[in-house]
């Protein structure tokens, strides 16, 4: 049975973004990313994010797909923000209702115990309840800090203060917003553009540059063959896995030496089969008149439509606005 292996992140919907020329999408994404890097004003970044989210809504792609792409780097973001807030000591200490945001934590023997207990609990919980691991983790971290702030019974080991500074908070927020902007933008591109179109788009962008055309056309052909053969190779891998499983390969048991052997037993056939395929394919391509780097016509000619031009106009306005505001010192 052929379970179609979906490759890439493309989500098949019909929207104006899906229909845009891939070259237009790639160029716009790239330049907007640079623009966003230049912005150093939180409000401006918020406006950008709001705008991008509005565009996201018009793609007809469910929002949770976008949320899922945040999830991958959520941990990294939280750590970055956390370290910025805790260790950045530039600027004034933030005041809320006249009180400094300064906290004292004390590690006592009791809450050391509680901390260890919580860590064990966290891992045990993972065995039962596998969802929302990130949120679980955050809750447990918060609990550890809370215990160190309020449960102060028994002899203490070490005591420390954390104060939140304006600059830290500001930088943390800015990094967060910037990354959110960038991720949403690139998700927008990969969700609405087929890998093949992306490939064609990149080739199209570099086409006017004569000196690099040869390299780009070879690269584009390589990419397109890779895209063509990834599902096939995944299929072959599962067959190899099954073939070796019927010879007693079981990844769940065996010593380290066995494991190495088991991996070799998958890699060698994989290599042999890929090599054979590559050889056959090279023959077939050559016999059909393919000459690497030679000029070719394309069945899918990229064409700009009105909507692409409108997007380009928007892009120019966007970049101009940033430059003007930058010079004015506003962002």
């Amino acid at each position: 049975m052929n379970d179609r292996i979906v490759f890439g992140q493309y989500i098949n919907k019909d929207s104006w973004i899906h229909r845009l020329d891939p070259r237009c999408k790639i160029i716009t994404l790239f330049l907007m990313m640079i623009g966003i890097f230049l912005i150093k004003n939180i409000y401006a970044l918020l406006i950008c994010l709001g705008f991008i989210l509005l565009v996201v809504l018009t793609t007809k792609i469910p929002l949770h797909k976008f949320l899922r792409s945040f999830k991958m780097i959520a941990m990294l973001l939280i750590f970055t923000a956390f370290f910025q807030i805790v260790f950045n000591t530039y600027g004034e200490i933030v005041k809320v209702n006249g009180y400094d945001l300064t906290y004292t934590f004390t590690l006592t023997y009791l809450n050391l115990g509680i901390g260890i207990l919580l860590i064990v609990l966290y891992f045990l919980l993972g065995k039962i309840f596998r969802k929302f691991r990130l949120i679980q983790f955050l809750i447990f971290v918060a609990l550890i800090f809370l215990s160190e702030a309020f449960i102060l019974i028994g002899p203490s080991i070490v005591s420390y203060t954390i104060s939140i500074h304006e600059n830290g908070l500001y930088t943390a927020l800015m990094v967060l917003l910037r990354v959110l902007n960038l991720i949403t933008l690139s998700a927008l591109l990969t969700f609405t553009t087929k890998p093949t179109d992306l490939n064609g788009g990149i080739e199209g962008i570099f086409k006017p540059f004569k000196f690099m055309r040869k390299g780009v056309s070879i690269f584009a052909m390589m990419m397109s063959i890779a895209l063509r053969f990834i599902p096939t190779l995944l299929n072959e891998t599962s067959k190899i896995l099954k073939a070796q499983a019927s010879r007693g390969v079981d990844f769940n048991d065996g010593s380290f030496k066995d494991k190495v052997m088991q991996i070799v037993s998958l890699l060698v056939p994989m290599f042999v089969i890929s090599y054979k395929k590559a050889e056959d394919l090279a023959n077939a391509m050559e016999a059909r008149g393919y000459i690497p780097g030679d000029e070719r016509t394309r069945i899918y000619e990229l064409k700009y439509h009105i909507s692409d031009i409108l997007v380009y106009i928007f892009l120019v306005l966007f970049l101009a606005a940033i430059i003007v505001l930058k010079i004015g010192g506003i962002v």
Partner: protein
């Protein structure tokens, strides 16, 4: 030994809770040691899925599989019960007090039912033929010397002893396939399943391979199950045929009855073996009373002799 499948289904979830059945309501019993079974049917009729379910490489979606073999003088039963997402396994000695569990290693089952995939390239990886044949038994027996012994024995039986020190990648297609089969046989399975073993082989290598399977079946008393499209192979070698159509078993019985069953032949678009076609043609052309269901040249000639022979007059 016994294999028993009852109401076995395997379905893939398509979009919006639509199931696509690869195999459907399979009831199958294989408990005679000397069986030589051919599984035939269209591409996509579920043949490969069925044999992979037998070998526990694929887990059924619904149904019950019970397989038993003798291990160390005990009848050991492997049970798989599947109902939707829940699959329960059991290994028991008597099949009376069966304790089902969510997860059990059924690796031992694969030792008893050896599955040879279509292309030897999928499994061959060692630097010498000997090492490659040893790989299976080494995994199952965990004893290097014993594995080596088995490998050498099998190689002798298959007449490939002279290849043992060669690299398996330098062999011809037919030899490579033999090495792949030896690699499975070395684990001493009671049942040998082969997925289209003759595709891509030239006629001599093909005959050679099939004669070896026949020997395994008749002399070594191994149960042989082959998936094939080649009706000449079915005619000449199989004792029992199973016809799959759209994931269901459409026919299960002797090959003679299958070839006589017009409904099965037509629905599944099956061919007749060449010799049957020839005899049918002769019968028509010469208007003689031939039994056309003969599957090799000698039998066909004997039949001609019986009807037209000198001594008969």
């Amino acid at each position: 030994m016994g294999i028993n499948l009852s109401e076995v289904n395997l379905a893939y979830l398509k979009e919006k809770k639509q199931y696509k059945y690869a195999i459907k309501d399979i009831n199958l019993r294989i408990d005679n040691e000397d069986e030589f079974i051919a599984i035939v049917g269209h591409t996509g009729s579920g043949k490969s899925t069925l044999v992979q379910v037998l070998n526990n490489l694929l887990v059924p979606t619904f149904g019950h599989i019970s397989i038993n073999f003798r291990e160390n003088n005990n009848d050991v039963y492997y049970n798989i019960k599947a109902s939707g997402k829940k699959v329960k396994y059991a290994i028991s000695k008597d099949n009376i007090n069966v304790k089902y569990k969510a997860r059990v290693s059924l690796k031992a089952l694969r030792k008893h039912i050896g599955l040879v995939f279509q292309f030897p390239e999928y499994q061959i990886f060692e630097e010498t033929v000997l090492k490659d044949i040893m790989f299976g038994p080494k995994n199952f027996l965990r004893d290097e010397n014993k594995a080596k012994e088995e490998a050498i024995k099998i190689a002798e039986m298959m007449n490939i002893s002279d290849l043992l020190d060669k690299s398996p990648f330098m062999l011809s297609g037919g030899q490579m396939r033999k090495v792949a089969i030896a690699g499975i046989l070395a684990s001493k399975p009671e049942v040998l399943v082969l997925d289209e073993p003759t595709v891509g082989l030239d006629p001599i290598a093909k005959r050679d391979l099939l004669e070896f399977l026949k020997y395994l079946n008749e002399v070594e008393h191994k149960t042989i199950i082959i998936i094939t499209h080649d009706m000449d192979v079915v005619g000449e070698y199989a004792k029992r045929t199973i016809v799959l159509n759209k994931g269901c078993i459409m026919y299960d019985g002797s090959k003679d009855e299958m070839f006589k069953n017009d409904e099965v032949i037509k629905t599944c678009n099956l061919n007749y073996p060449n010799i049957v076609k020839i005899l049918a043609n002769l019968k028509k052309k010469l208007n003689i009373d031939l039994d056309i269901y003969k599957y090799n040249i000698d039998d066909a000639f004997k039949e001609l002799n019986r009807v037209l022979g000198d001594n008969h007059e």
